[in-house]
Amino acid sequence: MSTDPTDPTAPRVGVDEWVASHEQRRVERPGLLGVVERTLAQVPSPAFYLGFAVAAALLPAVTSNGYIIDVGLNTLLYMLLALGLNITVGYAGLLDLGYVAFYGFAAYGYAMLASPQFGLHWDTLAVIPLVVIATAFLGFLVALPSRRLVGDYLAIVTLFFGELFATVYQNGESMTVFGFSRKYDVTGGPNGIPNIDQFHVFGARIGALNYTAYYYVALVFFMVLLFAMYLVDRSRTGRAWRSLREDPLAAELMGMPVNRLKLIAFACGAGIAGLAGTIFAAANTAVFASEFDFTSGLLIIVYAMLILGGAGSLGGVIVGALVVNVSLEVLRDPGHATWVFYTLICATLVARMRPWRWLGAIIAGTAAFGFVVHAIVSAAWPRGVDGQAAVGGVLGSGLRHWVVLPSNPTMIGNIAFICLVLAVLVLTLLHGSMQKLAMIPTLYLAAFVWENRLVVEPSITRLILVGVILIVLMNARPQGLLGTSRVEIV
């Protein structure tokens, strides 16, 4: 009988017992790794946050590459967003699908108060608190009518709110008050608001395109909020939020002010998104409504970060944002993507394949299989091997003699891609030696598809891989990387 809670065949009757004996079933990892793990467990989590802060602060010292700093800044903004979303979704369990609208509202708020749009150039010290408070208040307003709604109905109302925001801002270039014919350009419409002021405090200002400065601004804000959240997490409010998430009804019966807790959660989440929005607007010097649309994928990415890291976990916010954003960026470059692809395959094989002799057999088998196929194809159809490998260097020249590279690979590559997807799916259904035997042609097919089709279209491949990573990771660890598994009592 299985004790794995994620296994659908696990017993569902008597789950309470299962919960009660949860600690007893923990097996300590043996060996050196176990020692390291237990030692690390002794370290309080703020130490890890500090470690992260130091590492992150050193980044601009290590590199002056504008791209890496910019990616770092974006990652920090994502972390801020995920941190705010963690309050609403992770702690309070309120599914908020209009979250990005708060980010956009604040970005536009900063843009309107500090740009030539209305000729206002307020001091940043005044704008940031004002915008953050306004955004938090907006969150409060959205939550106010939504208090009665539960679960997915709340999700949909917030989604409407988000879309409403995007539509209005996308078309706000000629707004009119009912009954008046004069039109006002409020949001710049699809052209957005350009030429936004940099952060400036009492005359001192950050230079244009100085991403390093914004990087530190974002880092400081993030660390302060992270420690604040760490304290909140352990406070009365934090515990109340979590009880709300676990069971709103029970929480209410225990005398929790459920409505107030929901409103606070919404407003706090919105406020943090608002802070991120102001930094975003100033660093990017322009805002466009299409960036905050549901279709822009921003919301989806922030959710993916939060859930992947583990909803309700502060460390998860950091790890989730890092994993998602860094992998999104690393995969942009076809060379990097190729290494990631082959490394992932090898790592999976090494991690999952036992006993070892099978691993050797499969690698040798795949290599041999490749050379045989290559020989057959070059004899029967010379045009099938005269294509170019996309990557240069050692990997590229090695691959040229192993993978079949037709001169016109698009059509064959597409068919092979579909076959590969089916083959991988079938592979998950097979067991034992059948699975291992089937793995050899599948691996070769994967290499063939990668070299002929996927690497040629790196931008599409990147998103395909992100999709696959999300599916595989969520299946492997449904509670997220740093989340703790909870047992839902039905």
Partner: protein
């Protein structure tokens, strides 16, 4: 009052709403049983639409159709429903099944992953261009031929096919759910999965059937959309899925008549706000109306109010 405008907007709203309704039905069925927001559902609709397009291409292309239109319609619908259904079953089997007892938000992210995968795989294999069913160029152009209603409002046969087709599918689905044993099992499972499984219902079987039927309806919606509105492209499922999700929730998620009503509500709200209020802010108007509906009726138009059990 301008009756022409009114009737045209009405028909246009119902036609568009029918497509939403068909997608929303699948959403709602899956949600009813698994409590899962299947974000990949819109992409099944996209695949269905491409299957229809493929059949037009195979039969000689829009301007040179090799088979009579009625046969073509039948083949398209059959293949798209079969293909969509199988795809849905595969997604359930390989992406969602392991997550059945996981925290509810985990399958949500998996669904997003599936959606990313399908959209981009479609772009990789089929290209990003917009394709067209081009039913205006068919030998018997159903999209152009039609009849004139009183008040000079024109109705195309394509619109009629979409509306009638939707009615037939919805009636069929209702009969299936109400009368057959599997349908009853579905309702039981959706009411209480644990209890159903204790009563000897093969829940796995029911879930597979639900995914198959729901996805087949999405495939049919893809074909209908192509007939009436021509365009097919890899990202079409995203917006359609979003609207269908909205339709399902507005109608009362988990309720089948609710999904249809929700779809029609959205279609009509869209076309009337374009016709009478403002084309620019039509989406804003629609969302405004829907927020109001949700606040007045938090469990959707036809949804049953959730009773929390302790």
């Amino acid at each position: 009052m301008n009756w022409n405008l009114f009737v045209t907007e009405l028909v246009s709203g119902i036609t568009h709403g029918s497509v939403y309704a068909l997608i929303a039905l699948g959403y709602s069925m899956v949600y009813g049983i698994l409590k899962l927001l299947n974000f990949a559902h819109g992409d099944i609709y996209m695949v269905g639409s491409f299957i229809g397009f493929g059949i037009i291409t195979v039969s000689g292309g829009a301007t040179n159709l090799g088979m009579p239109v009625w046969l073509l319609l039948f083949v398209m619908l059959f293949c798209a429903m079969l293909g969509g259904g199988l795809l849905g079953v595969m997604i359930e089997r390989f992406a969602y099944r392991r997550l059945r007892n996981a925290p509810r938000i985990a399958p949500l992210i998996t669904a997003l992953g599936v959606s990313f995968f399908l959209e981009n795989a479609a772009q990789l294999v089929l290209g990003a261009q917009y394709r067209s069913y081009n039913s205006f160029s068919w030998k018997n152009p159903i999209a152009l031929h039609g009849f004139t209603l009183p008040a000079q409002a024109r109705i195309s046969y394509a619109g009629v096919i979409v509306i009638v087709g939707t009615v037939v599918l919805v009636v069929g689905l209702t009969l299936f759910v109400q009368r057959t044993q599997l349908g009853k099992a579905m309702r039981a499972t959706s009411f209480d999965r644990e209890a159903a499984s204790m009563m000897g219902i093969d829940v796995d079987h029911v879930i597979v059937a639900t995914f198959f039927i729901g996805s087949a309806l999405a495939g049919a919606a893809g074909v209908f959309n192509g007939i009436a509105y021509q365009q097919v492209w890899p990202y079409m499922g995203f917006t359609a899925g979003l609207y269908a999700f909205i339709a399902a929730v507005v109608g009362g998620i988990g309720s089948l008549p609710g999904a249809v009503l929700g779809g029609l509500t959205i279609g009509l709200a869209q076309s009337f706000s374009i016709g009478y209020i403002s084309s620019t802010f039509s989406d804003a108007v629609v969302f405004g109306i829907l927020i109001a509906v949700m606040i007045v009726r938090p469990s959707g138009l036809l949804g049953r109010a959730a009773v929390s059990k302790v």
